[in-house]
Amino acid sequence: MSTTDAAPPSSFQVDRAAMRHLADAQVNVELDTGDMILNLGPQHPATHGTLRLVVRLDGERVISADPVIGYMHRGYEKLTEFRTYPQITTLINRIDWLSSFANEVPFMTAAEQLMGIEAPPRATYIRTVLTELSRIATFLLFLGEMGLQVGALTPAFYGFRDREYVLNLIEAATGGRFHPNFNRIGGLKDDLPWGWIAECRSTMKIVLDACDDFEDLVLGNEIFRARTRGIGIIPAATGAPYGVSGSNLRASGVDWDLRRDARPYLAYPDLDFQVWTHPDGDSYSRYWVRLQETRESARIVLQCLDGIPAGPIMAKVPRIIKVPAGETWVETENPLGQMGYYVISKGATGPFRVKIRSASFSNVSILPWLLRGVYVPDVITILASLYFILGDIDR
C-alpha cells in the first residue's frame, strides 16, 4: 500500500461500549497471577549442600514443594561391597561429615556383633566420649547456622568458634578433626594422649558457656521467636510414620531416644542422662531441644570422664579379620537422628552387603507435606530447623 493513498474505509463498526468491557477483561487477565516455579538449589546457601527444592509459589506462598536429591550420591552401598572393614570405616566417616565419629560406631558394633566379640570397657567409654563430642560439635554448628538462616549473622561465628575447641580435642585423640577414622573392630586404634581428660573437662565448660550465650542471643530473641514459633509444626502422629527421628521427633513430644530405649549401646546403660522433649512441634522447639541436648551431651562427657576404667583399648582380634557369615542390624541415636546399618557378611574380609539407613533421608521425606502453604522465608527456617546433611541423605 503506498503512503499516498488514504486509509481505506473500514467495514467493521467499532462498538465502544462493547470494547470497554473487553478492556477490563484484558486488565483482569494481566492481573491474574499464575504460579511461579522457583528452584531452590542445588546451589543455595540455605539448603545444606546440594538439595534441590522445586517449589511452586503463588505470590510468596508455597503450593507444592518437591525435593530432588541425589546430587551428592557417591554410591556408598556399592563401594562397601569391594572394601575391607577398615577401608569401609574411612568411607562411612564421610556420610555425616559433621559428626563423623558417630557414623563409625554402629558399623563397628555390627561387625563386632557378627564376630561375637565385645570391646573392652575402656574402649566403650572412650567411644561414648567421642560420640558425644561429635554430637556437641555438630549441634554447635546447628545452633549457629540456624541463627544465620533466620538472618542473624553473629551466632554462626560463635558456633564455629566454640566448635574449634571440640575439634581440637578430637584431633588430639584421633589425629583427624573431621574424619577421625578411629574405630577398629574390637576397640579403638589408640589410647588417649596424656592430659586429654583435663583438656576435655575445660572444653566442656566452654561448651556450657556457649550454650548459655546461644540461649541469650538466639532463643531469647523476640524476633527469632516470631520467626520460628508455630512454623513447620510436625505433629507426632505424622512425623513418626514418615520416619522422622532424633531431635525432630523429640521436639514434637515423642519421648524416644535410642540411647536409653530399645537396645542401649556403648556406655549409655551406666550413665544417667535426661532425654529432652518439647510439646510443640515447631522450629523453635527443635532449636530448643537441640540446645538442651548439647548441654546434656556435655554433662554425659563429664560423667564418662569421671568413670573411665583403666584397661586395654582393643580386644584380641586376629591380624587379618575375617568376619564370620551372618547378618545383623544395628541402629544408634546419631546427632541427625536414627542411623542404622544392616550388614550381611559371607565370611570374607569385607561385608557382602551393607544397607545404610540414614536419618536425614527420612527427615527430608516429610518436606512435601510440611511445606504446603508456608511462606518462602519460612521454607528456609524449616529447612534449617530440620537439620539434614546432604551426605547423609544421598550417601
Binding site: 538472618g151 516470631a226 511462606y375 522465608p377
Partner: protein, 345 residues
Amino acid sequence: MTAIPTLALSIGWGTTLAIKTLIILAIIPLGALILGYVFLLKMMSHMQSRLGPMDPGGFHGWYQLVGDGLKFLQKEDIMPAQSDRRVFAAAPAVVVLSTFLVFLVIPVGPDLVDKSLNVGVFYALAVSSLSVIGVLMAGWASANKYALLGALRAAAQLIAYELPLLLAVVGVVIQAGTLSLQGIVLSQQHGAIFGFGGLGQPFILTQFFGFALFLVAAQAELTQTPFDMPVAESELVAGYMVEYTGFRFLFFFIGEFGTAFGFAAIAATLFLGGWALPGVHGTWADILGPGVLFIKLMAVAFLMFWVRFTYPRLREDQLQALAWKVLIPLGLANILLTGVFKVAF
C-alpha cells in the same frame, strides 16, 4: 565566617556549583568507605570474635575497601541476556542519585551547607524515597525471579516505613518550630534544659521515642537487618542486586552505605544537635562543625550497625505488621504528646 559567601560571590555561580557538587560526590564514597571499614569490616568482625582484614595497607587492613572498589571497577560488565538493558543500567544511578540529593541539605557548620532550604527536612525525606524506584528498576530489569522477589519485597517495605520515619521527624519539627535543618540545629544549640542553657537542648532528651522510632524506620529504609528481607542473604542471595556485577554493584554498595551515612547524619542533626557544640560559635563552629557532626554521626551509626549484626530478620508480613500496627500509632502518639507539651510549656 562570612568570608565563604563573599568568596562564593567573587568566584562565580558556575564554579561554586561545580565545587559543591564535587565536594558531595567526594563525600559519598568517602563516607561509605569509612562506615564500611569501621563498622562492617572491623566492628562486625570483633563482635564475631575475629579480626577482619589485617593485611591490606599494613595497618589493620584499612586499604581493603579501596582495593575492593578498584577490583569492582575493573570487572567485566555482565548483563543478563534477557534483561532490559537501559533500565538495568539506569537502576544503580537512580539509587546513588537519591543519596546525592540527600546530602545537599545536611549542614556541617553555621555557614557550611550545600543548599540551605527552608523545607530541608521535608526535602531530605522526600528525596530519599527515590531509591525505591531504583530498587524496583533493578529487580525488574534483572530478568531473574529471585531479583524480582527481592525488589517487590523492597518496594513494599520501603514504602511502608516512610511513614514512621516522617512521623518521628514531625515531633522534632514541632519542637524546633522550623523545617529547615540549619534552623533545627540552631534551636537545639540555643535551647535550654529546664532553664540550664549550658548544653543547649539536644532533642534526644525530649524526643527519645522519636529517636527510637527514627532509628527503627531508618534501619528499615536502609534494608538492614532486622529488616533486610529484600536482601536476605541466605534466601535470595543479594535479592534485587543479584545480577549486578562490577561497577554497577559498586554503585549499589556505595548507595547503600552512602545512604546510611546520610541517614546517620540526619539523625545526628535532628536529635543530637548536628554540628553544634555547647559554647562554640562563629568561626570555631565552622572549623569544628564537620568533626563534631562526624563524631555524632558515628555514634548513631554504631547503634544502627550494632543492631544489624545482632538480630535475625523479620519476615515480610511481620515487618509490615510492625510498621502499620505498631510504629505508626506510636509515631502519632508521639506527635500528640509533643504538641501538647509544646503548647503547655
